[in-house]
Each structure stands twice: as structure tokens, then as C-alpha cells.
């Protein structure tokens, strides 16, 4: 989720007139715009700006209540002005707010509406593509991203649009298993962002994203460089902190990893960060601290109705990974699948089914997850465990070997489980894969 949200919210920053200079804090901006709309209740631009500011606030804090405030302000703006190219900005922001709340179909519709008013700005294609990608329609997502080009505006504005295209295309390449192509596109995007002197947070996001791609391909050294570059540019950037924590964890440096996760959570309490921190504490052997983090995961996940909607997949994975509320894991994963059909949702459903002993059904879900050729250690690990349980040792070995080949340290606990299961498969002894997974917990 984090990855996709990051991509989409980045679009907001690039949208024309979206946000003021970064040195102006979002809170101050919200305050001034709130005063403005009170003074001028017919000012559609002020309402649109207020909506964008709340969205930015939500991005900074992870508090889903801000998304609702954003939508209310944007809705008011669109009540005042909707049949005009000038309404494209509020419509695009509305699309982004819907994405943030995982209302992908609504996000797509709003993006289309923004395009239909014909503002001359192709930015809404970015969100249309994001929504399609999350709905698992990668081909149409690529088509949407390919529309991100323009002959209007300054050279910088044109470059910014190309940046949006390339950074998104990079993600699609990664999903398609073309890691090299993905990395090349993202490297280009980082260079563009730097050359254009984009706001520090934007460049940092690009570096972070590059780090994620390196990490996914097992190139830990380059991943570390990219995360560090992001932090140099934008100190305290929570995404880069979490990325660097993964790097430290994969090297067995759990205490450093825990400290980094702590900082990331202090900035934005995403449940996946708390779950990862809990796993790190478990790896250290501090079960009390681990449990505190696991409790935090559930607390965040259930904080509000919208949070439940946003964090279905993360909670499902968390339950399945940690052997708790296993039936609930399947329910949540299926609920997520109702709105999201991307490879990672299929993967989580497969994993949840496996932990419930439904390995046949899990294999079917897994084949959907792998159907686009994604080369991700976590996906291969899950597939390996599922096929091992189905006594298809040939397939199981192949998948587990792929997982470990991509990244021998892909998870602080499950990397070892993969090695153990592979060893058992070789000797054809030992406990069942489900038991192995349970033992790992």
C-alpha cells in the first residue's frame, strides 16, 4: 500500500498550483485557507486549495480523518465550480483523496472527469493509471501513463509531467518482472527531479522509491545508498527511515533497525512499520516489545472506519504472518480483493488461505499473483510454501530458491524459514510447511 499511496500523492505536489512552497507548513496553510473560505464562501479556488492542503496533511500524518476533510472541502469547491477547465484541479484532488481511501473505482472516475473538462493538463492520467494499476489492470494503467506528456507550459512543467510518467512506468516494469528496466526508469526520474530542483521531499521520494526497487531485487548496497540519499536531502523522511531499517534488519543489525523503525513510526504510524518493528524485536528476542508493536498494528488498523478500509491488506498479512485471527486474515484479504486486484492483494489472499490450511485455493490465488511475472522474494516465498504443502516439491524448491536468490535476507524471520523448508524438501524430512511457518511465528 505504502508504495502506491506514495506514487499517487506525489502527483498532488506536481499538480499545477497544488501546494505552496514547502517551507510554509501544512498546518499554517490549512489555517489561512480556512479563514479565507470563511471570508469568501464563494471562492472555489480557496476550497480546492484547502482540500489539497488537507490531503497533504493526511499524507504527512497518516490520519485518515484528513482525507475526509479534504473531500468535504473539494466537494464544496466543485459545488461552486465544476463545468469548467478550472475545475480539473479540484477533480484531480478528489481523485487523489479517493485513492488515499482505496476507493479506486471512484478515483478513476474523478480522474476521468478531470480529463473531460479539458484543462490541457494531463496530470489526471497519473491517478487514472494508479487506480487501474491497483485494480490489477496493468495494461490500461500503462496506456494511461503513456498519456503523460504535454506540449504546453514551461519546459519545467513539461519535464514534471515526464517525471510523473517515468516514475510510474518504473513501478509497472517492476510488477512485470523487469527490475533492470524499472531501475533505469527510476534512476532517470531521480536525475530529472534533481535537475529540475524539485522540492526536497519529492526528490527524496524518488530516491526512496529507487531504494525500494533495489531492495526488491536484492541489491542491498545500492538500496542503502538510495535510502541514505533520501535522508540526506530530506532528514527524518519516514519512508526512507523504514527503508533503511529494512536494510539494517537484512544485515542482522536489529538494534539499528528497531531505532529506525521507531523514528519512522513517530513520524507516521503506518501499521506495516509497527509490524516490521515487532518482527525485529522478536528477532532480538524481546517478546514484550514485540507484542506492544503488534498491539499497535491492530490499534491503528481499527482506529476508524476508513482505516479499516485502507489497511485491510496490511492487517490480513499481519494476521497471517503472525498466526493470529487467521480466519479474519482471509476475510480481510477477500474484502480487499473486492476493490483491488493487483498482484500483492492476490499474494496476501494466497498467504492467508495457506495459513488457514487451504493450500489448493491458495495456489490458485498465487497463480494470479505471479501471472504478471513479478520477481519479488516475498511472492516466491509464499508460493514455495504453498507448493511445498501441496507436496509439489519441484515447484516449491524452485520458488524458494528464487526467493533466496533475489534476496537472502528478504525478511528477518521468513528468510530462515525458506532456507529450512528448502533443506527439508531436499531431505524430504521434517514437519509440514504450514507447521514450519507456524514455528517461525
Amino acid at each position: 500500500m505504502t508504495k502506491k499511496i506514495a506514487i499517487l500523492l506525489f502527483a498532488l505536489v506536481l499538480a499545477p498550483g497544488a501546494l505552496p512552497a514547502q517551507n510554509e507548513t501544512t498546518d499554517a496553510l490549512i489555517k489561512s485557507l480556512a479563514i479565507k473560505v470563511k471570508m469568501y464562501p464563494g471562492d472555489y479556488k480557496a476550497y480546492a486549495g484547502l482540500g489539497a492542503a488537507y490531503l497533504q496533511k493526511g499524507r504527512e500524518t497518516g490520519d485518515s480523518a484528513d482525507y475526509e476533510l479534504a473531500k468535504a472541502a473539494l466537494s464544496r469547491s466543485l459545488d461552486l465550480m465544476s463545468n469548467d477547465p478550472a475545475a480539473a484541479f479540484a477533480m484531480t484532488q478528489m481523485a487523489a483523496a479517493c485513492m488515499a481511501e482505496h476507493q479506486f473505482d471512484q478515483a478513476y472516475i474523478w480522474a476521468q472527469k478531470a480529463l473531460a473538462v479539458g484543462s490541457g493538463d494531463p496530470s489526471p492520467w497519473a491517478i487514472a493509471g494508479d487506480a487501474l494499476a491497483d485494480m490489477g489492470d496493468y495494461q490500461n494503467a500503462a496506456d494511461a501513463y503513456s498519456m503523460l506528456k504535454t506540449v504546453y507550459g514551461s519546459e519545467d512543467e513539461q519535464q514534471a509531467i515526464l517525471y510523473q510518467r517515468d516514475s510510474r512506468m518504473s513501478y509497472l516494469r517492476l510488477v512485470a518482472g523487469d527490475a533492470q528496466g524499472a531501475i533505469q526508469l527510476m534512476q532517470g526520474a531521480v536525475q530529472t527531479a534533481t535537475a529540475m530542483h524539485m522540492p526536497a521531499e519529492n526528490i527524496a521520494w524518488s530516491d526512496y522509491q529507487l531504494g525500494e526497487e533495489y531492495f526488491q531485487t536484492g541489491d542491498i548496497a545500492h538500496a542503502e545508498q538510495a535510502y541514505l540519499a533520501a535522508l540526506r536531502l530530506y532528514p527524518g523522511y519516514y519512508r526512507a527511515l523504514a527503508g533503511l531499517a529494512k536494510v539494517r534488519s537484512s544485515a542482522g543489525n536489529y538494534r539499528a533497525a528497531a531505532a529506525l523503525y521507531d523514528k519512522a513510526i513517530a513520524a507516521v504510524p503506518y501499521p506495516e512499520y509497527a509490524a516490521a518493528l515487532g518482527d525485529v524485536y522478536r528477532a532480538i528476542g524481546d517478546s514484550n516489545k514485540a507484542q506492544k508493536e503488534f498491539d499497535l498494528v491492530e490499534f491503528i488498523g481499527h482506529l476508524s472506519g476508513i482505516n479499516k478500509q485502507i489497511h485491510n491488506r496490511e492487517l490480513a498479512l499481519f494476521y497471517a504472518d503472525h498466526g493470529i485471527k487467521l480466519d479474519q486474515a482471509v476475510v480481510l484479504a477477500r474484502r480487499e480483493l473486492e476493490v483491488r486486484h493487483d498482484v500483492y492483494t492476490w499474494d496476501v489472499l494466497a498467504w492467508a488461505l495457506f495459513t488457514n490450511g487451504e493450500s489448493k485455493e491458495a495456489a490458485a490465488a498465487m497463480s494470479n499473483a505471479l501471472s504478471h511475472g513479478t520477481k519479488d522474494a516475498q511472492l516466491f516465498f509464499h508460493a514455495g510454501m504453498i507448493y511445498a504443502d501441496l507436496d509439489d516439491s519441484l515447484q516449491a524448491r524452485a520458488f524458494l530458491q528464487q526467493a533466496l536468490a533475489i534476496n537472502p535476507h528478504f525478511h528477518p524471520i521468513y528468510a530462515e524459514t525458506a532456507r529450512q523448508t528448502l533443506a527439508n524438501l531436499s531431505t524430504k524430512t521434517g514437519s509440514s510447511p504450514i507447521q514450519e511457518a507456524a514455528n517461525a511465528r
Partner: protein, 424 residues
């Protein structure tokens, strides 16, 4: 024939906005109507869903050519105004309805007032441009269109209006470029918008004698929005230019399966006539009766009626009377041209020249207008101009609907010119 399209364009361009919803199998306008009705159920106290509903009906009028949808739009706007009196979006939709009803003077006045209230609203400039273009005030139309493009570079409604003005000013390549820029930005869900733009491009290709290019664009348009009446009508014109009258008649009958307009009745009669069909006379008669009934209405076919009386109808005095009536309402290039042609048919050649000269001064490149200018010049014994204009007509479009007459007139003008030289 381009005249008909450009008359309708004022209203049609006004609709070029607004989104759609995911209701599959419905046209974009039907989707918008369904979407808005659902929004009204959810938010019955808000004005905006009623405005959206009105826009949906206005779009549906464009999709079908059936202006009765405009009455439904008006009803939705009343509901909107009950909730928030004088709301801007409702008033903008009202301007679109005025344009749809060809009430150009009222639309222009209303849009100017809206513009004073909200000078940064792009579409309001568009409405001013639409009404001014239809009334023949190209300077105001140009100024308003320039505002649109200045306020937001590359916006689709601005590009489309700029393209239309480029046609008026004779820059057909520039017009095609603007239409193409607009087309590339239209999302694929907006199928009717795509088809409309492709049809406008095809009209330009047709007017310059590029029949294959026109045909190809129209085929694409029909793929995007099957059965679109504007595209079918343009395709019929292409087939007429190719002298494929039976195909043209098939297309016109398909076109009239939906809503029949006065101008389409005239075109049908004209095509039957060219095809040598025995029903042509009754088709003309049917058109004449209906067009005469509408001469005082805002939505009329006065220009077609003038052309009919100057041709098969053979009532030049009646043609002039109607042309004068129409020219008192509007001064667009096609009305001025029809008036000039009627004056010429009534032997008022000097007056005819006075009418057509300002049209030519705009730079417009239209085979029929060049032919009329050439014929008028020939009557005034200005053989050099006559030969020049008639050659322009034939060079621009050797397959135009006036090509045969232009050839005859050119031969006459050349002969007369030679005789005049010999006398000297």
C-alpha cells in the same frame, strides 16, 4: 454545406466539457444523466447535482440532435435554482441552453453579464465566443477565445473555438492543428467528444477537396460513436462529392432515423435531386413548407431556404426577402454570403459586392463563397476578379457542390474578358 455545421457549432462547442461515470453501455451523456440522478438521490438538497443533470441533458441534445432534451435541462435548472438561486454553474448551463436554442443575442448578453461576475471563468468566455461567432462578431469572438487560451494554455474548449475561428480566417492547416491538439487530449471515455472533433476535422478536409482524408476521419468518428448524426451527415457530403448518390442517400436516411432537422431535410432533397430521384420535388416541397413555418423562429433554416429559392425553388424575390430578414438577426459569413447571392439574383450586383467583400476580407476559403464572389464580379464586368475568384473556388475544392457552376462561370468570364480586351 459547411454553413450548416458551423451554425450548429456554436451550440455544440458549448457542450465540450464535463465528465462521465462508469455505467457501461450508455453514451457519455446518458452516463452523466444516470450519475446525476443518483447524486440527486443522495444529495436532494444540493444544487450541483441538478446542474450536472442539466448538463447531461444538454449533452444528450448534442448526441442526438434532439433539442427536446433542452427542455428537460431547463427543468433541472429550475430545481437547481430553487436550492441555490443564481448559482454560477446553473447560470452557465442556462447560457448553454440559450445557445442550443440558437438564441444568440440573448446568449451573448447573458454570457457577458456572467463574465462580469466571474471574469476568470474559462467557459463563460467560450459562450461569448460561440454567440459572437454565430452573430458574425468575429472580433469579439477572437478576443474571448484568446482569453480562454491565456487563462489556461492548451485547454480543450479554447482550442476548439480557436480552430473554428481559424476556419473563418482561412487558416485551415492551423485549424486542423488545433483540432488535432484538442483531440489528443480527449479521454477515450468521451466518445462523442472524440467523434465530434474528428467530424469537424473531416469537414475541413472535405471543404478543401481531400475526400479520402475526410472519409478516413469520419470512419474513425463512427467507430468512436456509432450512428452519430453529425458524422453521418458529413459522410453523406463526402459521398455526394464523389457522386455516389445512393450511398449518400443511405447515409442521410440513417441520419434521419434519429432526430430530423430542417437543414437535413434540405440536404436530403438536394441529394435526391442530384441523384435524379423522382421524389426530389416532393422532398423540396416538404422542406419548403417546414422551413417557411420556421422563418421567424430562432431555430430556422432561412439560409437553406434562401439557397433553395435561388435554385430549384426559383423565387429570387422571396429569397432576398428571407435573406434580408436573416441578415437583420446575424452577420456571420454564411448569412452575408447568402444575402449577397440573393442580391445578385435580383440584379443588385453593387449591393451584392458590398455584402460579400467583408466576407472575403476575413480570409475565409470556401468554394461556394469564392464562386458567388466570382459570379458577382462577372456581373459587374470585373473579369479579372471574376476569373481569380472562380479559379480559387475550383482550386480549393474541385469536387465542391458548386464546381459545375463554377466551371461554367469561369468559361463565361474568360470569354467575356477576351471580348472586352478585343474591344479595347
Amino acid at each position: 454545406m459547411k454553413k450548416i455545421c458551423l451554425t450548429a457549432t456554436a451550440f455544440l462547442l458549448a457542450l465540450f466539457a464535463h465528465g462521465q461515470s462508469p455505467f457501461r453501455g450508455l453514451t457519455p451523456a446518458q452516463q452523466q444523466i444516470a450519475w446525476s440522478q443518483a447524486a440527486i438521490q443522495t444529495n436532494p438538497d444540493k444544487a450541483q447535482p441538478y446542474n450536472d443533470l442539466a448538463l447531461g441533458y444538454i449533452r444528450r441534445a448534442r448526441e442526438t440532435g434532439d433539442n427536446s432534451y433542452l427542455n428537460q435541462a431547463e427543468a433541472a435548472l429550475k430545481d437547481s435554482a430553487k436550492r441555490v438561486p443564481g448559482n454560477l454553474e446553473g447560470e452557465k448551463a442556462h447560457a448553454m441552453i440559450l445557445l442550443g436554442h440558437d438564441q444568440f443575442v440573448e446568449a451573448l448578453q447573458f454570457s457577458r453579464k456572467l463574465n462580469q461576475k466571474t471574469p476568470d471563468d474559462i467557459l463563460t468566455y467560450g459562450f461569448i465566443a460561440d454567440a459572437a461567432t454565430a452573430l458574425g462578431d468575429y472580433a469579439e469572438a477572437e478576443q474571448a477565445t484568446q482569453w480562454m487560451l491565456d487563462l489556461r494554455e492548451g485547454n480543450i474548449p479554447g482550442l476548439l473555438r480557436a480552430a473554428r475561428l481559424r476556419v473563418i480566417y482561412g487558416d485551415t492547416d492551423g485549424a486542423l492543428d488545433f483540432y488535432s491538439q484538442a483531440y489528443q487530449q480527449i479521454p477515450p471515455t468521451q466518445t462523442e467528444d472524440q467523434a465530434w472533433t474528428l467530424t469537424q476535422m473531416a469537414e475541413i478536409q472535405l471543404s478543401t477537396g481531400h475526400l479520402d482524408e475526410a472519409d478516413s476521419l469520419l470512419r474513425s468518428a463512427l467507430q468512436k460513436f456509432p450512428g452519430y448524426y453529425l458524422t453521418l451527415e458529413a459522410a453523406a457530403r463526402v459521398e455526394t462529392a464523389r457522386h455516389h448518390y445512393s450511398q449518400a442517400l443511405d447515409l442521410l436516411r440513417q441520419r434521419d432515423d434519429g432526430s430530423v432537422s430542417l437543414s437535413s431535410l434540405y440536404f436530403l432533397a438536394l441529394t435526391l435531386d442530384r441523384a435524379g430521384d423522382s421524389t426530389a420535388a416532393s422532398a423540396y416541397k416538404g422542406f419548403e413548407l417546414k422551413a417557411l413555418n420556421a422563418t421567424n423562429e430562432a431555430v430556422n433554416a432561412n439560409r437553406q431556404l434562401v439557397l433553395y429559392y435561388l435554385g430549384r425553388g426559383n423565387k429570387p424575390a422571396e429569397a432576398l426577402r428571407i435573406a434580408e430578414q436573416e441578415v437583420s438577426r446575424r452577420h456571420d459569413v454564411f448569412t452575408l454570403d447568402a444575402h449577397a447571392w440573393a442580391l445578385c439574383a435580383n440584379s443588385r450586383y453593387g449591393d451584392a459586392k458590398k455584402q460579400i467583400d467583408p466576407v472575403l476580407a476575413l480570409g475565409i476559403r470556401d468554394a461556394a463563397i469564392f464562386y458567388h464572389a466570382g459570379a458577382i464580379a462577372e456581373r459587374l464586368d470585373d473579369y479579372a476578379d471574376a476569373v481569380r475568384y472562380l479559379n480559387q473556388s475550383l482550386e480549393l475544392n474541385p469536387e465542391s457542390e458548386v464546381a459545375v457552376e463554377a466551371h461554367d462561370a469561369l468559361a463565361k468570364a474568360i470569354a467575356a474578358s477576351a471580348m472586352a480586351s478585343n474591344k479595347r
